[in-house]
Every structure is written in structure tokens, then in C-alpha cells.
């Protein structure tokens, strides 16, 4: 009989399934669950974008594209990034169209991390950075952010973790799960720390369009940061295109030419139909983003207010579509809170520690749902909190 334990790579075997997966399996066993757990928009992809994909199919656009993506799309991405990050990347050799932001993260980490390299990961954060770093033999070094800093990365916390071995910093803002953003004045001291170091920044800006009250600021806008940054973004959140699997990375050509090799051998090229759809998105659907942002913003205010009112402290997140209320006042751990809430009230939220240890004591609530849905869910969570506080 074949011995699979000797077949599977040890690093793969050691990889833990994400805490979210565990919770998903649990929620799956229940009926009529009111979910607040998803990390994707509730909007459908705007119709003109879907239409463009249909047209591409009708015209028989069914072949591979260039490895780095359709030239027209790279051009549009170049203009788009210049617009929002005030930084130019050449469509010729500084942009790769990837299979979602996820592939861009994977490629970047694999291209730069060698065994023993330390990679700074700002937590709480999206679940994929750590396992990919470990798969490459790197050592994830967590930089914790705190509620009292509004979950922003501080220069002090960053400096404390930098060593001789530090190869990269993963900077995930606007942040999933906290909704925190880094404003210009928050990024300036970070750029100051990094300016003279041989450390690459992976700036995961997938939520860059979803900020409230101010525009997103990218680290590449700062002096001499472009040369040490891989900017990652995509279409999933901004244009409600999660299922199309399309993202991109921008970096100096010395990096892109190396990263492209992994993409070329592993993926060939990103889905062609999705690429045609993405051209339409960038060309003609930027105003749809404004509509979605307006909607999210109202729900965001509604949720922050709602959670504070039911006795769960909730700081005001300025980005993404999550609120991150503190549940410490209930005396429960994040896991206990979420499990009990699911069992007694049929409401699914995600325990904060699924995004890193410092997320303990918090829950992630997605407001990518209709207002009616949110209202009902928050009312039920309110009942739950009252019962816990009364009866223990």
C-alpha cells in the first residue's frame, strides 16, 4: 500500500487549515443560518462588465493571452494605478495580471523568500500570508496591531521586529478583518523606517477602493518606496468580481521579470474572458465603485452604531467591509462567543483569532449584506449578549 505520509511534503502536512475553514464546516451543519461571515461583496458584478465578458466569448476570445496579461489590460491597470497611487508602472514590463490578488501574493512571496528569511506579517490579517511564507521555508514574524492604535501599524512595533534576516514586510491595508486603514500620516513614519533598508514591502491593497471619508494612500507614493514595493491589487472587491479570479501586481521590472517566471510556469496566463471583462471594468465602470462605496458606508455606520448600542465596543473602521467589535465584556473567548452565538441564535460571525492571535477578544462582522439582513442579525447578537451578561 502506498504510504501517503511519506509522499506529502512535510511543510504541506504541517500547514494548518485556516480557522475560518473550521468555522465554515461548523456553520455548514446548521440550517437557516444568518451569516455575517463572508469576505466578498454582496453586489453582483456590474452588468456592463458581465456584458463585456459575453461579447469576448461571442467573438471567440478563448485563447491564452501573453503571460503577463493582455497588453490593453496592462495599459488600463497602469493608468488606474497612476490615478490612485500617483505612481507609474510600465505596461511593458512592470505589471503582471494574476489569478486574483491571491496569486499575486503567492508569486511575490515565493519569488523572494528563501529558507531562514524572516517575513514580517502585520496581524490581524488575511489568512494566506503565513502558510505561504512557511511553504517557502521562510519564518513568519508577527507584528501585532492593537485596538488602542486603531489597528494601525506603528513605526515602533515595526522597528522592534526588524532583524538582519528580515526580507519582507507584508502590509495589508485597508485591512481584513479590522477595517483599519493607514492614512498618509500613518504611512510616513513606516516609509521612514524602511527607506534605507534592504526589505521589500508587499503592499496588499485589494480593498483600496473601499475607504470611507478619504481616499486610500499607497506606500509607493513615498520617496524611494516604489523601488522596494510590490503593489498588489485586484478586481474582486472594487468591482465585485470575486469569482472572476483576477488581480495584478506592479513592481520595478527587475522584480517583475523574476516573478513572471513563476507565473509563466505555474499559470501560463490569467483567464482570458476575465481579462476582457476587467478592461471594461477599468474603462467604464469606475462610477459603479462610488455607488457601492456609498452603500457600504451607510451600512458601516449602521453596524458600528448597532454594535456599540448592544454593548460590544466597536471602533470605527475606515476601510474594507468589516467591523471588528470587541467581545471581551462578555467574558467569552472569540471561539466560544462565535460557537455559542451560532448554536443559540443561528448567527455566523468569524472569530477574530482566525486572523492572528492578537485578534482574540474580537469578532469579524462583514457588512456585505442587505440592511434588513444586518438589522436582523445585530438584533439577534444583541439578545445573545444580553443573555450572556445576565446568565453568564
Amino acid at each position: 500500500m502506498i504510504d501517503y505520509s511519506r509522499i506529502i511534503n512535510k511543510k504541506t502536512r504541517d500547514m494548518k487549515p485556516s480557522g475560518i475553514r473550521k468555522f465554515f464546516d461548523l456553520a455548514q451543519t446548521m440550517e437557516n443560518v444568518i451569516a455575517l461571515g463572508v469576505g466578498e461583496p454582496n453586489f453582483q458584478t456590474p452588468w456592463p462588465i458581465r456584458r463585456a465578458a459575453i461579447t469576448a466569448l461571442e467573438r471567440g476570445k478563448t485563447f491564452y493571452t501573453a503571460n503577463s496579461g493582455l497588453y490593453n489590460l496592462r495599459q488600463s491597470i497602469s493608468e488606474y494605478v497612476k490615478d490612485y497611487a500617483k505612481t507609474e508602472y510600465s505596461p511593458d514590463d512592470e505589471i503582471i495580471v494574476t489569478v486574483g490578488g491571491s496569486e499575486a501574493i503567492d508569486l511575490s512571496i515565493r519569488a523572494i523568500v528563501e529558507p531562514g528569511d524572516e517575513v514580517l506579517i502585520v496581524e490581524p490579517c488575511f489568512v494566506c500570508y503565513k502558510p505561504i511564507v512557511e511553504l517557502s521555508g521562510g519564518i513568519p514574524v508577527v507584528v501585532e496591531t492593537k485596538a488602542e492604535d486603531d489597528f494601525k501599524l506603528t513605526a515602533k512595533a515595526l522597528k522592534e521586529k526588524i532583524t538582519e534576516k528580515t526580507k519582507a514586510l507584508i502590509l495589508p491595508f485597508p485591512n481584513n478583518p479590522t477595517g483599519a486603514i493607514m492614512k498618509k500620516e500613518d504611512l510616513a513614519p513606516i516609509a521612514e523606517v524602511l527607506r534605507d533598508m534592504n526589505i521589500i514591502v508587499l503592499s496588499d491593497e485589494i480593498y483600496s477602493e473601499l475607504t470611507y471619508g478619504r481616499k486610500h494612500c499607497s506606500i509607493v507614493e513615498f520617496d524611494s518606496m516604489r523601488e522596494r514595493t510590490i503593489l498588489i491589487n485586484g478586481f474582486s472587491k472594487a468591482f465585485a468580481m470575486t469569482g472572476w479570479r483576477l488581480g495584478f501586481l506592479c513592481a520595478p521590472k527587475e522584480l517583475v521579470s523574476q516573478i513572471l517566471k513563476i507565473h509563466q510556469y505555474g499559470i501560463m496566463s490569467s483567464p482570458t474572458v476575465s481579462q476582457y471583462a476587467a478592461i471594461e471594468a477599468l474603462k467604464n465602470c469606475r462610477s459603479d465603485i462610488d455607488m457601492m462605496v456609498d452603500e457600504y458606508n451607510m451600512r458601516r455606520r449602521f453596524c458600528v452604531h448597532g454594535f456599540n448600542e448592544i454593548g460590544l465596543d466597536c471602533f470605527e473602521p475606515e476601510g474594507a467591509f468589516y467591523v471588528f467589535p470587541c467581545i471581551k465584556s462578555t467574558g467569552l473567548s472569540s471561539q466560544e462567543f462565535c460557537e455559542k452565538l451560532l448554536y443559540t441564535k443561528n448567527v455566523a460571525v468569524v472569530p477574530g483569532d482566525a486572523f492572528g492571535e492578537c485578534g482574540e477578544g474580537f469578532i469579524r462582522v462583514s457588512y456585505a449584506y442587505s440592511l434588513e439582513h444586518l438589522k436582523k442579525a445585530i438584533r439577534k447578537i444583541g439578545e445573545f449578549v444580553r443573555e450572556i451578561k445576565e446568565n453568564g
Binding site: 485556516s18 465554515f24 456553520a27 455548514q28 461571515g37 463572508v38 449602521f302 468569524v350 440592511l371
Partner: protein, 161 residues
């Protein structure tokens, strides 16, 4: 459009306090702004969008769209006849149109005969009406921006990163 109006247009049943929270203004300010919008004639009313096809007691309601060609009056143009037509309770919408006819009207009746009689006896004989063309609505898919199709199912998973 003003963000308060946008919210009300989508859901007129939100309370002033909910509206205030979502817009980041006080309940009091919401009340004042709504009052002003009403007084200024910008908000003209609050309707409910009913899927008549699904409601048992109005399932046989018939809607018709009528094109009306009229000859405008020297002084008042199309306004006078448009106002006259608007008087009828059966008439839901009256629009002055560009193109091949002048007034576009929607009316509701309990059956086809009802509407035919209304057109023949009330609209056609009005002074200035040159001709009418009646189109019956067979099925509504979307009404006032709201999709009337079956319940929309959230196809996203319960929990995802």
C-alpha cells in the same frame, strides 16, 4: 441625488434614527431635512412597491400603457389635457413624451374590458385627443427598481476569508 433621498427612495420605512446613523447626522436633522423636502415639493409621497402578480387579492389587476396623440392648445400647450387626464383615479402615470405621440399614460383596471371601456368612453372623446394606442402589460419583471422575480438566494458561502 441627495444621499437622504437615495436612501428613502430605496426604503421609505427606515426610521429617522436609522437614517441619521447611516448618514452620520442627528435624528433631529433628518426630521428637519425630510420636512423641508416635503414642504419644497421634492418628496411627493411614499409608496409601497407591490408585486400584484403574487398578491392573491389583486392577481387579476391589469395594467395598460396608452399612447395618446393630442392637439396642443394655443395658450396652455399640453398641460391642460394632461391635467384633465390626470384627474381620473384609474390613471397612475401621465408623462409628456418626445417622439411619435404626445402623452404616455399608465392605467390600472380589474380586467381588459374595464380598460377598453375607459379608453373608449373617457379618454378618446376628450377634446383635443386625436388618437389612442393601448398596450397591455403581460408580466412585470422589475418595478420601480425592484426585481420582482423569485426570492433571490445568496449563493455565497456562509463564511469565507
Amino acid at each position: 441625488m441627495d444621499s437622504l433621498l437615495k436612501l428613502l427612495k430605496k426604503n421609505a420605512r427606515l426610521s429617522n434614527s436609522e437614517l441619521g446613523v447611516m448618514l452620520g447626522i442627528s435624528e433631529q436633522e433628518v426630521a428637519e431635512r425630510i420636512e423641508k423636502l416635503e414642504n419644497d415639493g421634492i418628496i411627493k409621497g411614499y409608496n409601497t412597491v407591490i408585486n400584484e402578480q403574487a398578491a392573491a387579492d389583486c392577481g387579476d389587476l391589469v395594467t395598460a400603457y396608452i399612447e395618446l396623440k393630442v392637439s396642443p392648445k394655443a395658450q396652455s400647450g399640453f398641460d391642460e389635457i394632461a391635467r384633465t387626464v390626470s384627474q381620473y383615479d384609474e390613471v397612475e402615470n401621465v408623462w409628456l413624451m418626445s417622439g411619435g405621440y404626445d402623452l404616455g399614460i399608465t392605467i390600472k383596471g380589474t380586467n381588459l374590458m374595464d380598460i377598453s371601456l375607459f379608453v373608449a368612453q373617457r379618454l378618446a372623446p376628450l377634446e383635443g385627443v386625436l388618437s389612442t394606442a393601448t398596450h397591455f402589460v403581460l408580466k412585470k419583471y422589475k418595478d420601480n427598481g425592484i426585481d420582482l422575480s423569485d426570492k433571490i438566494i445568496d449563493e455565497r458561502g456562509l463564511v469565507s476569508p
